[in-house]
């Protein structure tokens, strides 16, 4: 199968800016993108730099951006891109990390966030069995973290996350998925402390874009993050803007069946927070002048009573 690789090349010590180099390939039909890169290195240009090791989607080394999305290139067939009508593969290094050379990035930011969530079990010493015995959990008890355990630290989701791209403070999908793994482990004794720390690390900064659903190991960080949010509200960690937003939103829907955005923004700013309200005023005026601030009564379903009944049955006390 014929294909063209357009690879971003860059050696910071010698190039003023990255440039693209073009390589023509004609490989067997099942060849992966990694096979293509190895073929280039073998027979066209041995100066091309990229990470790889196991070639079987286990080591998590060969992540890079192919036509806009980050992939483990050992697991991605050239044909899968060609089938999409792209015989040209634009290959660039991962996002949100500094380029060291060509397709190799400095993964320090990734590891920093990972360390921040303390990715190790912290059991209550009094409950730890003696060294000759195992600390046992049942498969059912570990079910909530079953997917989290599959992470191979490849950083595919970290590179594709739109929040991570602009906000270096945000812990990012893999670190949060790993945090979920320990928060839901019944042997861990630091659940509450972990959850409190996660709020500072960006638990509520995920924007639900779901790019991380493309995880090559099906870890599903987006749902791990949603679950962490639920657990943290349940644990009473609600004195933060994210939890407040979620709770006020739900309450607003409980009142009349629809969201009243204007009231939500005012409530979140704090009705008595004069500075905050003044800061929001120009935007409010702009919206008003464009006829974009509706009267609250428009936001009502025909039968709000039915909605309230549902809230009384499934909602928590706080939500009603």
């Amino acid at each position: 199968m014929k294909s063209t690789f357009l690879i971003q090349r860059y050696v910071p010590e010698q190039d003023s800016a990255p440039h693209v180099e073009r390589y023509e390939l004609d490989l067997w039909d099942e060849a992966t993108i990694l096979d293509g890169l190895l073929a280039i290195k073998d027979s066209q240009d041995d100066s091309l730099a990229f990470r790889r090791a196991c070639r079987h989607a286990i080591c998590g080394s060969c992540s890079m951006v192919v036509n806009g999305y980050t992939k483990l290139v050992c697991k991605t067939a050239i044909a899968s891109e060609v089938k999409r009508g792209r015989s040209e593969l634009k290959i660039t290094p991962m996002r949100s990390m500094k380029v060291l050379k060509d397709l190799i990035v400095d993964m320090s930011p990734f590891w920093k966030h990972f360390r921040d969530v303390e990715p190790w079990l912290q059991p209550d010493p009094a409950k730890v069995p003696p060294p000759n015995e195992e600390y046992r959990v049942t498969p059912q008890q570990l079910a909530p973290s079953r997917k989290d355990l599959n992470c191979i630290l490849c950083a595919v989701c970290f590179s594709d996350c739109g929040v991570t791209e602009v906000d270096s403070h945000f812990a990012g999908p893999p670190a949060l998925a790993k945090a979920h793994r320990f928060v839901t482990d019944p042997r861990d004794s630091k659940r509450k402390e972990r959850l409190e720390k996660l709020v500072d690390l960006g638990l509520w900064d995920c924007a639900h874009a779901y790019n991380c659903m493309e995880c090559p190991k099906h870890v599903d960080p987006a749902h791990a993050i949603a679950d962490l949010r639920r657990i943290s509200i349940e644990a009473g960690i609600t004195n933060n803007i994210g939890a407040k937003h979620s709770q006020q939103f739900t309450k607003s829907v409980g009142r009349n069946g629809r969201l009243d955005e204007t009231r939500l923004v005012m409530e979140l700013t704090g009705i008595t927070n004069v500075t905050g309200q003044i800061r929001n005023a120009p935007q409010g005026v702009r919206m008003l002048l464009k006829g974009k601030l509706p009267l609250p009564m428009h936001q009502k379903v025909d039968n709000p009573k039915e909605v309230r009944r549902i809230f009384e049955t499934v909602g928590t006390k706080d939500e009603q």
Binding site: G68, A207, N211, S246
Partner: protein, 290 residues
Amino acid sequence: MKYAYFTGCVAKGTCPELHASTVELAKVLGIELWEMTDATCCGAGVIRDENPELQIALNARTFAMAEAAEMDIVNICSTCQQNLGQDNRAMREDPALLERTNDILSQNGLHYSGKTQVKNLLWVLVGDYGLDRLAQKVVRPLTGLRVASYYGCQLLRPVEDTGYDDPDNPTSFDNLVRALGGTPVDYAGKTRCCGFHILTVNEDTSTKMAVKRLEEAEEAEADIMVTPCPLCHTSLDAYQPRATKLQGSNVRMPVLHLSQLVGLACGIDVGDLKLNQLMVSPQSALSGVL
């Protein structure tokens, strides 16, 4: 063609021009809409963050109403599509969850068997209505107009719940622009997030994301952006002056709703499409078309 029309909250709230233009467009295309005035908010994933079963119960009520009326649902918001789609699939894949949810609905005399389909307006236009048929309705072709179709993120993923396009390389929106006579532009941000869902929680990060999308479209020399989602629209248009000021950007990019763009090509009066309610005026960008 007849659909149960799920407006969502924002088209009835801070984006009234979206609802107005959708109704006008449906008339011109001969699509009958039964507005679900009794349908609740889809939960936007926010209710799910707190209480997943509550969000599912609210959406099951909506599905049950559409099922009783024997209609599929059309929505005009990517977040609605994603949340309705996800909750619908959750119940279809888990009979015990469907049964539990039906117990809750029974107090309102409702029942849902799992039949309702949920489609965003984009998929209805491209899939059900068809682009050939749509092209025949064009009386004001968008000749020369460079359009940055903004798919955004939530319309494309999870693919089982959202639709009919390849999230890695979507083409439907650009094909629609071509059918209307316009020129689609390719740009890096077309499937990346606008940041709306953290606008009230982390305004700095959210507006950085929005400004990046606007700049990417501008870099590709687009005249306008178009979005199938009022939440993306809020970030990209309604907040554009504030976002660009906060982030020190000079970008200025008109952003239309999908229904406005199609309506424009189908000859609907500009006043009826409520283009004047857009925060960033598209007047000069559209001068070649109008």
